[in-house]
């Protein structure tokens, strides 16, 4: 039967299960920069070393996040697709919008949420226990936990999850045509537009309500839609995939899983090590050089595109010894799995808290937790902006 042939993905969007592909590791060993072609057919420099990654991501003046045109979608007003999408904006516009949100994600604020996060985690574990083994960890635990958290925080009805989960997965699916992904992104914006209008009419206690109440005059409607759409998708897709693939990584190393299960002190460094080792976001938004410059001794021209491989940088020996080994006992490293520079993940404190709550709780509830299928059969979701698992059958 003829089926649609999945396109060959650019190197920086490929994985070999937990690992970046061997070709990327080889490029990291060579001087200068690698060469890749982006999905829109533009050649780009590939940055693979830790120090080079920090240099490029850390300099928003030399390397713009707003330099690449978005794929136009029929019916979208000019600028609408980018409006409020912090990832695709440069300072000072980026700074203005980010500062409206950072107060919601302080370490203190997130610590106050911890009991509620623990309740959400426990409720999912109760449901898994009542249903009995086997379970699929993705729909039964990894996806609902961060979805419930971001829905409550933002003010999105959890009852709408089937639709927004499906749209998010399509938007991030690298095997779908860019036009289709853009179209789905506009559907997401239309959905969020309804919620934003509701918040303008009757602002609640959630983040949408706060933004309308406190910043209603500073933000346009399309900016608010862009911000909220980004928070919804980034709030559940990233952590959900870390919870699923992180659990699998731990179960492949039962002695390390036991440490996370039994030693509360081990949790925080273990979360950082899982983030480093798995770096589920392949790359951030491609950067565009704003002037002729040099990276890793390689001349880079104004207008050149640069793609930074986060998993490659986080597997660099310049960051940690023996980087291809998962070791939850090592001291927390300054990995770039949350990015680096002004676009460093806004929700990082929340993601860390969700992981620090969910991993130990899952392993304590089911001390005999194990994959219910051979490792070779695990369905990795490589061809997505966020790496992870499509499903993970488990038993206990």
């Amino acid at each position: 039967m003829a089926t649609a042939q999945a396109p060959v993905l650019p190197l920086h969007m490929r994985r070999d299960r937990f690992d970046p592909p061997a070709e990327i590791a080889a490029i990291r060993e060579q001087p200068g920069l690698g060469r890749v072609t982006t999905p829109i057919g533009r050649p780009a420099w590939l940055v693979t070393r830790y120090e080079d990654a920090r240099e490029v991501l850390g300099d928003a003046t030399r390397f713009s996040s707003a330099g690449l045109p978005v794929i136009p979608v029929p019916g979208a007003a000019p600028g609408e697709q980018r409006s409020g999408n912090l990832l695709m904006l440069d300072p000072p516009e980026h700074t203005r919008l980010r500062r409206l949100l950072t107060g919601e994600f302080t370490v203190k604020r997130i610590r106050r949420l911890q009991p509620r996060i623990a309740e959400i985690v426990d409720a999912q574990l109760d449901a898994m226990e009542q249903a009995g083994p086997p379970a699929d960890l993705v729909p039964d635990f990894a996806l609902p936990v961060p979805s419930l958290v971001i829905c409550e925080l933002l003010g999105v009805p959890y009852a709408d999850r089937a639709e927004f989960h499906s749209r998010a997965a399509k938007q991030l699916d690298l095997t779908r045509p860019l036009e289709e992904r853009g179209q789905v992104a506009m559907e997401s914006r239309a959905y969020m537009g309804e919620l934003v209008d509701r918040a303008f009419a009757e602002p609640g206690d959630d983040m949408l309500g706060m933004l309308v109440r406190e910043h209603g005059d500073d933000l346009t409607r399309t900016e608010l839609i862009g911000i909220s759409s980004l928070l919804l998708i980034a709030g559940h897709e990233t952590t959900a995939n870390m919870l699923a693939i992180g659990t699998l990584a731990l179960l492949r190393h039962p002695e390390q899983a036991a440490v996370v299960r039994d030693d509360p002190e081990a949790t925080a460094p273990a979360v950082e090590e899982l983030m480093r080792f798995l770096s589920v976001v392949h790359t951030g938004v491609p950067r565009v050089a704003t002037a002729d410059t040099e990276v890793a001794g390689q001349a880079v021209g104004a207008g050149d595109v640069l793609v930074v491989s986060l998993p490659a940088a986080d597997r660099d020996r310049a960051l940690v010894e023996d980087p291809d080994r998962l070791d939850v006992g090592r001291a927390a490293s300054h990995h770039v799995a949350f990015g680096h520079g002004v676009h460093h993940c806004l929700g990082a404190p929340l993601a860390r808290m969700e992981m620090a709550t969910a991993f130990p709780a899952l392993l304590r509830r089911f001390p005999t937790l194990a994959p219910a299928i051979p490792f070779e059969d695990v369905d990795f979701r490589s061809a997505s902006v966020v790496h992870g698992l499509r499903s993970l059958p488990v038993t206990w």
Binding site: G103, F105, T106, V107, F338
Partner: protein, 64 residues
Amino acid sequence: MKIKADRDVCIGAGNCVLAAENVFDQDDDAIVVVLEESPQDEDAESARNAVGSCPSGALSIEET
């Protein structure tokens, strides 16, 4: 050592608070506040770690 923090550069990621809670805090907008400008011993070590973990480059150490 003396800790310097540039509040205009800070992006409120909170990495410094997680790395060195006795040395750094955040205000209501998440922007860095230095609690202890000249940390000693263990806090000095945590502060160095915090500076290394800062994504925005807002933090620096002046050795005295």
